[in-house]
């Protein structure tokens, strides 16, 4: 059974600081998604990483994928309060004609002034 683990589960950080969220997974996959979720809301797609070594950046967020290490990171640069949310990684695996996303446990980010 595929396991997707994120750490930390909860992160409180001050505005202006940098931090990294880690997503480890237990099976071979070269497709990984990052989502943001505000309380009670839907999943907002942030990044789709489709190959080993993929790096994508949008504003203060940068995501990378190392398929050999089975690790993805979401780096936050100079955090601002608006980034407060829960962040999920999800690994895309294929089985025959099917595929599915297996989500991590989520990292609840709180950015304080």
């Amino acid at each position: 059974e595929l396991k997707v683990e994120q750490n930390p589960l909860f992160l409180s950080m001050q505005e202006g600081k940098n931090y990294t969220i880690y997503c480890n997974y237990s099976t071979t996959s070269d497709r990984l998604y990052w989502y943001r979720q505000d309380p009670g809301k839907s999943l907002e797609s942030l990044f789709v990483l489709l190959s080993n070594g993929a790096v994508k950046q949008e504003g203060r967020l940068m995501a990378s994928l190392d398929t050999k290490a089975r690790l993805s990171t979401l780096h936050i640069t100079a955090a601002v309060h608006d980034l407060s949310a829960t962040y999920f990684c999800a690994v895309d695996t294929e089985t025959g004609t099917a595929s599915k996303l297996t989500f991590g446990t989520g990292t609840r980010l709180q950015v304080t002034l």
């Binding site: 999800a90 089985t95 004609t97 099917a98 595929s99 996303l101």
Partner: protein, 115 residues
């Protein structure tokens, strides 16, 4: 931009009642999915659907659950006799085609409250 549409946004039902959650996937997509998220927990895969049949289902997707594509545009999830523990956000997703080249797009979700 095309999007996955889910209705209703919030459904309240009594325990033991049947509910149908509706989804309209993106029009040229061929693969369809349901996921659920219990409040405060991670998102869990329920079922995938392709070529008018279930491709894969999780342990959660027991005999109380069924999916259907009744008319070529809608994709529904039916829960026959709801339980309190079915209360969750249910997300529909769709994918255009070949897994390696296409990503899943999610709808906004339906919040199901079982009383």
């Amino acid at each position: 931009e095309p999007e996955v549409t889910q209705t209703p946004s919030h459904q309240v039902t009594q325990m033991g009642q049947e509910v149908i959650l509706r989804c309209v996937p993106i029009s040229n997509h061929l693969y369809f999915y349901w996921y659920r998220q219990i409040l405060g927990q991670k998102v869990e895969f329920l079922v995938s659907f392709y070529n008018n049949e279930i491709s894969e289902k999780s342990e959660i997707f027991d005999d109380q659950f069924s999916v259907e594509r009744p008319d070529g545009s809608n994709f529904t999830l039916k829960i026959r006799s709801t339980k309190l523990e079915d209360s969750a956000m249910y997300f529909c997703a769709s994918r255009e085609g070949e897994v390696a080249k296409n990503i899943q797009y999610f709808g906004a979700g339906t919040r199901l409250s079982v009383l």
